[in-house]
Point group: C2
Chain length 232, copies 2
DNA sequence: TTCGGATTGTTCGATATTTGACATTCCTGT
DNA sequence: ACAGGAATGTCAAATATCGAACAATCCGAA
């Protein structure tokens, strides 16, 4: 599992699980064990390319050690990261399931060890365990719902309204205060605005008593209220 | 099937299949027949609410006749539509699969007849047909890939770059010219900008020879080139 | 405790977008 | 052929955001 703050109630995980479909963890223990036991581990050096976007998928990856950055190379050669994944995290399952090319590049960030789970093995395990397949269906459906919700919430409106919707969403939309662990840069990236603009919007939401800003975290006093605010 | 222009090669469908997860059609014929045969049909009058966002799912819908608008009510009471679905279209499968509340409201637009496929029946059919479940997994994985790609492409950058990325994406990213059936207002909605801004971006892309504008359609001369353009 | 890197807070001129409006074109039904 | 509604093209003042920079705060490692 990645560095998710789970020791404290009310703290929600950061975004990496939303933007990078980590489906491996939705599988039952037995399926996970089976996949892991038959999969070879490879080592990568800092900056080494693991997989390229557009390539045909022959397997997916489970990170054993180190950090892998998942994202996309820009025309300028720069790498735009969507997620930073660590030990226990997985990526690349979607391409296997959809039988379509990979949509992301992946790079080692520092030395990394990555376990490759072959597509054929994955299909065999799924075929022999309908409960595993159903669990995967459920996890993917939930993620698709969240992604569509996120898409709907950030598409248009003033930055202020969009920030309200995003935070209400990330804080789970309920009526209890929730603290979201996220940097303002990440919020800015999600909304597609500059950090300065995101900061200004957050400052206004805080001034209105809807949120409290702290270092690398935002406390949402009433997530449902923020969602409503976003729809105005 | 909804009003998709399939008679002409190079014409891609509009967005409704992307923004509304119509998974029913990914099922094998036998599974579809089985679901349809046991499902009751209900009639709705113009403007009648069919389902409300946030409600627990007991089934999903297959449109028999008429038009259903799927989207979300704003705080002002206005309805923001995400998709307009017609005969043969389905919606609401995600909530069943994820076992989470519905994320959309749905309204009849004119008189409509809708077939309700119960969640329990759906689960039974899936459990008895692993091929159907695998097909659904694949369709959902593909859709999640597309949605994540869309999200990645529209999140930040100038409107011009984002429009380029979106069109490159919608046109399939290949090297052959493709015509995308879409209004400029729909492009604007997707990008979260006004129609005037979308039109200005499109005009510039056309001036640069990358696209050709026509009524309710955009021809993308080389989709792969537009995608690259978006990443600059 | 100190240091260094990351993150946040803020500012302001430059640039982009919105808004509201009007004109023109397109398409479909009668 | 005509009418009406939808879609597109365009414009300019008002408003929002970007970009670059600097200062302040936070946190983890030594």
């Amino acid at each position: 599992m990645s560095n998710i703050e789970q020791s404290e109630p009310g703290i929600t995980p950061p975004l990496r699980s939303l933007l990078s479909a980590m489906l491996f963890e939705a599988l039952p223990d037995s399926a996970r064990r089976q996949l892991r036991d038959h999969a070879p581990v490879q080592s990568f050096t800092d900056g080494q390319l693991i997989h390229q976007r557009g390539t045909a998928p022959d397997g997916f990856c489970l990170i054993e050690e180190g950090t892998v950055s998942v994202g996309q190379f820009l025309a300028s050669g720069e790498f735009r990261s969507v997620a930073l994944l660590g030990p226990g995290d997985s990526y690349g399952e979607l391409a296997i399931l959809s039988r379509r090319p990979r949509i992301v590049d992946s790079l080692a960030r520092g030395p990394a060890r990555v376990r490759f789970i072959g597509g054929a093995l994955f299909e065999r395990v799924l075929a022999s365990d309908p409960a595993a397949m159903r669990a995967l269906l459920g996890a993917m459906a939930a993620q698709l719902q969240e992604t569509l919700d996120l898409l709907a919430g950030i598409r248009s409106g003033t930055t202020l309204a969009r920030a309200a919707g995003l935070l209400g969403n990330l804080a789970g939309g309920g009526h209890q205060p929730r603290t979201v662990t996220i940097t303002q840069q990440e919020i800015a990236d999600l909304l597609g605005v500059t950090r300065a603009t995101a900061n200004a919007a957050l400052a206004r939401l805080e001034k209105n008593g809807l949120i409290a800003r702290s270092y690398r975290a935002i406390t949402v006093h009433e997530p449902a209220r923020l969602r409503i605010r976003a729809l105005e």
